[in-house]
């Protein structure tokens, strides 16, 4: 019996030691890689509503239908703008790649021009449809584009989080640094701060609601506030479906022009 107790104690100590060693060696890059590589399902469709509120309290609303499919480390995304009327039937497609250094391919279809046009991936720093989100904020910024370090651990809404500071390797990037609160285990963001080129706080991202859909964590409601301009954007997802089986032929020029029913 004594022998058994010693064996259990030894095994327990060993496990604790391994766990502690693992925790100690967890780096900022590891955390952000876990976020980037978090299982998201083979494909996801959703309806996005963006509510823009300016400093006077007046609001503008944009609605989008979004389709995303994973191809290993690569991802294809297509968005169909459904409102307001002056952007209706515009579509946007982004093919992003996991390979380091390989930039996204992006196209836009403007119904007035009736043609699909390749656009520069430099547009990822642009604000998306006048919201407080850039294309980069909405997508998955590759971890290798920033230098990451863990600067603390905090609880946010009852969840244990790593606090990770990320500094872009490109000195001309729109943010000088970001600070992310990442929930341990689920590797989903809890909140994020964005600092401008002068190091001043520019924007804060608050996650209002996350939930599991078909076993995958999805952010369903978040709000980005530009604290310098007193402008904010609430982004809500509804009718989220994961693993419905979007065809490869959906991510094509044909579909961009055809739109979605």
């Amino acid at each position: 019996m004594k022998k058994n107790s010693i064996a259990v104690l030894t095994a327990g100590l060993l496990l604790l030691t391994v766990f502690a060693a693992g925790a100690q060696t967890m780096t900022g890059l590891d955390v952000m890689n876990n976020v980037y590589n978090r299982p998201k399902g083979p494909d996801i469709t959703s309806e996005l509503t963006m509510t823009l509120t300016n400093s006077r309290g007046s609001t503008r609303v944009r609605t989008i239908r979004q389709f995303v499919k994973e191809y290993g480390a690569d991802e294809k995304k297509i968005m169909f703008f459904t409102a307001p009327a002056d952007v209706k039937n515009t579509s946007f497609m982004d093919w992003s790649y996991g390979a380091p250094g390989k930039e996204d391919d992006m196209w836009i279809y403007l119904p007035a021009l009736k043609k699909v046009k390749r656009i520069s991936s430099e547009n990822k720093s642009d604000y998306f449809m006048g919201s407080d989100f850039t294309y980069d904020d909405l997508g998955e910024r590759k971890p290798d584009k920033d230098t990451h370090r863990i600067i603390g651990e905090e609880k946010v809404n009852g969840s244990d989080c790593y606090v990770v500071e990320s500094v872009p390797k490109d000195p001309d990037y729109i943010y000088s640094r970001t600070v992310s609160w990442i929930v341990k285990g689920s590797w989903i963001g809890a909140k994020k701060e964005f600092y401008d080129e002068d190091g001043e706080l520019l924007k804060t991202l608050t996650i209002n609601e996350s939930d599991k859909v078909n076993g995958y964590w999805v952010v369903l409601d978040m709000e980005m506030e530009n604290v310098q301009k007193d402008h904010k954007t609430r982004l809500q997802l509804k009718n989220v479906k994961i693993g419905e089986g979007i065809k490869d032929s959906f991510f094509t020029e044909r579909q961009m022009k055809k739109g979605v029913r």
Binding site: P84, Y97, L113, K114, S120, Y127, K229, H231, E253
Partner: protein, 423 residues
């Protein structure tokens, strides 16, 4: 004017009400816009009016989506400064979708190529140039009644278009601000010149046919296309030349082949675009100094030559400003000095646009610069979204130079305001 605006508003309200009622039925969607466009000439000394444009437009699109087919209709009602109402159909077609093929039948705009603001391989839909190149491009392009089939093979698309009846470009009327005068000897009084238009007969053999293969992939996109068609712009064939009493010119549209291609690719954040076309047997007019001799030798003041039109363009983003520049060149092969056009005609375009205030304000500069005549069109505009769907644009169109494609309109400098409500 008052009557036409009232009529326009009533029509818009009735159509909108009808649209709203019908859209309650499943599968039918309506959208469109109402717009006022008012332009004021900076110098009216050459004209009787201060206004370059007073236009009110109501545009309505209707879409019906079925299981394997869609219907699309777009019509417009338009009133101008002369109190005239014009109504028309911009597009009216239906789509049938198969697994790997789409079929579109009816009046439709078909757009080809990668160039912005110039037409090189974009030869299927003719253009409405009655207001030069100033309107939005969906209003410049004319729908053609045609059958279009697209077959999809992986990342490739094969497209075939049959246009049974030829539709030419709309050219500015003689009393328009944008009227183009033909280059005739100085001894000819323009008032005695009579023009007639000879359109191809509406017979099957005068059909136009076009084909295109296109590819869209990660590394690059390209299109290769060809067409057996009529030139959308006419050449002036002199039928009678007895100045000072009588000069008669017949505008004819030349049958010709066109082959071309275009591509776009991105390298390090820069999008490179290229487009080129070879036209076999385009007809050019002769210069005024050579006209008489040509007529005496049995000619009609025209000559047929092959012709190349190409463009190289670059798009990039710098400090949040979308920048685009293009170099465009036209080249007449086997050139002869008696041709009224230059052997080479080169044009550059520049675009710089940036949005501010969460995309509610857009400042834009677009310029054409003609290298042959050092002439230019400079377009500056500021657009502001007053509310979702309600947009105000204030801008100026300034023509620089004395001659050339843009310089000929030096007297037409204007400022304008456009208010557009989209629904």
């Amino acid at each position: 004017m008052k009557r036409s605006i009232t009529l326009l508003v009533i029509t818009a309200v009735l159509l909108s009400a009808g649209a709203a009622a019908v859209s309650a039925q499943e599968g039918i969607g309506f959208n469109g816009y109402v717009r006022n466009y008012t332009g004021v000439l900076l110098d009216n000394s050459d004209y009787t009016s201060d206004f370059s444009a007073i236009e009110n437009t109501f545009d309505l699109k209707a879409d019906y989506s079925g299981d394997i087919s869609d219907l699309h209709a777009e019509g417009y009602v338009y009133s101008d400064a002369d109190d005239d109402l014009t109504a028309g159909v911009r597009e009216l077609y239906f789509d049938i979708y198969f697994d790997n093929m789409d079929l579109r039948v009816g009046k439709q705009q078909i757009i080809w190529g990668k160039a912005d603001g110039v037409f090189i391989t974009d030869v299927v839909s003719p253009k409405d140039l009655s207001r030069f190149v100033l309107p939005d491009f969906d209003e410049i392009r004319l729908g053609v009644t045609s059958v279009k089939a697209d077959y999809y093979l992986g990342d490739f698309t094969l497209e075939g278009v049959w246009v049974p009846v030829f539709t030419p470009n709309v050219i500015p009327s003689g009393n328009s601000l944008w009227a183009v005068s033909m280059d005739l000897p100085s001894t000819v009084d323009p008032s005695i010149v009579k023009f007639t238009t000879d359109l191809p007969d509406t017979v099957l053999e005068n059909s136009e046919g076009f084909g295109k293969i296109s590819y869209m992939g990660s590394a690059f996109d390209f299109e290769l296309m060809g067409g057996y068609m009529f030139d959308d712009a006419p050449a002036g064939h002199v039928s009678v030349f007895n100045p000072p009493t009588s000069v008669k010119i017949i505008k004819e549209y030349q049958r010709m082949f066109m082959g071309g291609g275009s591509f776009s690719t991105e390298v390090a954040g820069f999008v490179f675009r290229g487009e080129g076309a070879y036209y076999n047997g385009k007809v050019f007019n002769l210069g005024p100094d050579y006209l008489q001799a040509d007529l005496l030798s049995g000619g009609d003041g025209t000559i047929e030559k092959d012709y190349i039109h190409y463009m190289a363009g670059l798009d990039y983003v710098i400090a949040g400003v979308n920048v685009s520049t293009q170099f465009i060149q036209e080249y007449i092969l086997d050139y002869e000095d008696k041709i009224s056009n230059d052997e080479f005609n080169s044009t550059m375009t520049f675009l710089a646009a940036r949005k501010f205030m969460n995309d509610t304000l857009e400042l834009k500069f677009f310029g054409y610069y003609g290298l042959n005549n050092s002439d230019a069109l400079v377009r500056l505009s500021a657009g502001y979204d007053i509310a979702d769907g309600l947009n105000l644009v204030i801008g100026s169109d300034i023509f620089i130079g004395d001659e050339g494609y843009f310089g000929q309109y030096d007297a037409n400098d204007m400022v304008y305001a456009k208010v557009k409500y989209s629904f």
